[in-house]
């Protein structure tokens, strides 16, 4: 018998009784942008609330003097930013900042989710540079985790980000920034 057959036959022997199971529908609630911003900031990420007209200027200001990377299909124009041309991991080390959009923001937990969609690029570009700037439109913010999960393309690589990289492994003292970006900025664009 193969390992698979052995395991499955043991599961069958256990014959766990099946009971009715109902998933409760989570009501769709209007998302609170204030709550989202507050909870993102709670993780010591920097939050900017800007209007559509202010996006480019804010991005240009954040990126000034930094070697800046964006996904190949990023929608905003930033002076001097370099579009991802399939750089090697070693080449990505030379970038200080990456700017991306995201798929959804979840107010309940202050989380942004990247699903490799428009303007987000592959996972490595938001991982290796030490500074991640993420743009989210107000209409991309949802209230609950359930609503957030519905809005992403699950079969693409997903990254749920709630604040910068952190550890409390030494004497439970929180240290921001171990391996992932040590600095996270979120630009919330007003509707």
């Amino acid at each position: 018998m193969t390992a698979k057959e052995r395991i499955l036959s043991r599961i069958r022997t256990a014959a766990v009784p099946r009971e009715d199971y109902f998933r409760t529908e989570t009501p769709v609630q209007p998302a609170s942008i204030d709550l989202f911003c507050e909870r993102v900031a709670d993780y010591r990420a920097i939050v900017h609330r800007v209007s559509q007209d202010e996006v480019s200027a804010t991005l240009n200001r954040i990126c000034e003097g930094r070697r800046c990377l964006v996904a190949a299909d990023f929608e905003f124009v930033i002076e001097g930013a370099i579009a991802d041309a399939g750089f090697t991991h070693a080449e990505l080390v030379d970038f200080e900042t990456t700017i991306t959009s995201c798929a959804v923001g979840i107010a309940e937990s202050g989380t942004i989710v990247l699903d490799a969609g428009q303007g987000q690029g592959r996972r490595a570009i938001t991982l290796i540079p030490d500074h991640h700037v993420c743009i989210i439109r107000a209409d991309q913010v949802v209230s609950s985790l359930e609503e957030g999960l519905e809005r992403v393309m699950v079969t693409r690589p997903l990254t749920f980000i709630s604040g910068p990289s952190a550890t409390s492994d030494i004497e439970l003292v929180r240290v921001e920034g171990v391996h992932g970006p040590r600095k996270l900025e979120v630009l919330v664009v007003k509707a």
């Binding site: 256990a14 009971e19 699950v154």
Partner: protein, 461 residues
């Protein structure tokens, strides 16, 4: 002995006697568990109905386990459809062999690891080392344990038994870097620089899994530092070892899990990073993905109607933090990678109640029930502890004593007679040292001059 398996080397009592002597451990643990518990309360209180959320978690996991076969088969189908390879491992040895074979087939002698208690359970690091493959831990605490040749003492914060000065000295000796200060942010920086090189050059990563979704074939890893993202994104080959009980039926089920897990584990609304991937994505991340579905005793647990709830466990470690026994003896006393209350029920069951030392673990409890209260998926740990105590081998003297007690207590006349004779009984018992284990730390109760029954009979009506 980093990554120490699940077979305790001694009984819990002997191990605990040793660990209780370690004052640093007790001080660090006391501080850590109190801090996490206080923080946890704040984020739990934010949830409108935490009890309903716990019940939803328990019901979800029970539902997933009741349909385990079809969930696993669907997961296998979906992972393979997305370009991954699925392996089944009935035992720890089989799982290790699969990992080693994959590494050998690519001539790889060094792999980077995401923190994985399942890989510690199967003693992956030591077994790979014997085959000439070095496994490098990348979680800060796991790295500390690995450099110190020490085993983890807590599920969430494995190096909590070490203080900053010990860690500074360890890094100085083992990594050869002079560190001017033992500030945690400096020590974390040292780990960052040390591991960055490894991440950028590693060809293969090994991870565990916090969940898998059957309907989509997606796997999820929950972490804080970003070492997980590094391992899941940068190498060419990824091997994930997952206990079969981690599979969830639907993608939407992840919401329930993620509302419970970070709050119960790190006491945060959400952990910094959760990565989810489905098979292989061209141009993004590892281009070869293997999923190993591990049994290693889990079907023993599933086969027991009372013990089966143990498999709901999402490895959050909330039960450790609230346990008065764990807080004092620490994780090493349990002799298994699964410490604390959950370890006391999981370890002996994974070993099919056949390991003498593991069978002492269900006795490592005051039965106060705090673990049950804290458990986000409502595992009734005290119930399982009591049940497992009943399944362990009894001493002949103890068995005889309970048989006598049963005979006496099942008849009211015999019981009355016994109560009258108790004064003699109590002194005989203490004379022969029969109750010594009990009275070592407790007073022998005073025997009243008259029993309640005698008083009741004689009272004025």
């Amino acid at each position: 002995m980093s990554g120490g398996g699940i077979r305790p080397a001694t009984s819990f009592t002997s191990a605990a006697r040793e660990t209780l002597k370690n004052r640093t451990l007790r001080a660090n643990l006391g501080f850590a568990t109190r801090t996490i518990c206080a923080k946890r309360e704040r984020v739990v209180d934010e949830i409108e109905d935490w009890q309903a959320t716990r019940s939803a978690g328990a019901a979800l996991k029970d539902h997933a386990l009741a349909n385990l076969e079809e969930n696993l088969l669907l997961l296998e189908k979906q992972v393979e459809a997305a370009g991954g390879t699925v392996h089944w491992a009935a035992t720890a040895q089989e799982a290790v062999e699969i990992v080693a074979k994959i590494a050998r087939s690519h001539r790889i002698s060094e792999v980077v690891k995401v923190k994985s208690i399942t890989s510690d359970e199967i003693e992956l690091n030591d077994s790979l080392k014997k085959q000439g493959i070095e496994a490098i831990e990348t979680d800060l605490a796991e790295l500390i344990c690995q450099l110190a040749d020490d085993s983890p003492s807590h599920i969430l914060v494995p190096a909590i038994h070490k203080n900053r000065e010990e860690i500074r000295q360890l890094f100085a000796t083992k990594l050869g870097v002079e560190i001017e200060s033992s500030e945690p942010h400096r020590l974390a920086e040292v780990a960052r620089l040390h591991l960055r090189e490894k991440f950028l050059t590693a060809k293969m990563a090994v991870s565990g899994a916090n969940f898998a979704v059957a309907s989509t074939g997606s796997i999820g890893i929950v972490e804080s530092e970003g070492n997980g993202r590094m391992c899941l994104t940068l190498p060419d080959i990824l091997v994930t070892i997952m206990g079969i009980e981690k599979v969830l039926p639907e993608w939407s089920d992840v919401a329930t899990l993620m509302r419970l897990l970070p709050r119960s584990s790190t006491a945060e609304r959400m952990n910094p990073y959760t990565s989810v991937w489905t098979g292989v994505t061209p141009g993004d991340g590892p281009q070869e993905f293997h999923l190993i579905l591990l049994d290693n005793g889990r079907t023993n647990v599933l086969d027991d109607p009372v013990g089966r709830q143990t498999l709901r466990c999402i490895r959050c470690s909330a039960c450790l933090n609230v346990c008065p026994v764990y807080q004092r003896v620490g994780g090493h006393a349990y002799g298994s990678v699964y410490p604390g209350p959950i370890g006391a029920i999981l370890t002996p069951q994974l070993l099919a109640m056949a390991d003498e030392n593991a069978n002492t673990l269900p006795f490592a409890s005051s039965m106060c029930g705090a673990c049950y209260e804290a458990c986000p998926v409502k595992i009734n740990i005290p119930e399982v502890l009591a049940y497992l105590r009943g399944k362990t081998h009894k001493q002949p003297v103890e068995l005889a004593a309970f048989q006598v007690a049963y005979w006496v207590m099942s008849d009211s006349r015999r019981f009355s007679a016994a109560l009258r004779g108790k004064r003699i009984g109590a002194s005989v018992a203490s004379m022969f040292g029969l109750v010594k284990g009990w009275t070592d730390s407790r007073e022998m109760p005073e025997v009243p001059a008259e029993s309640f029954r005698d008083w009741w009979r004689k009272r004025d009506r």
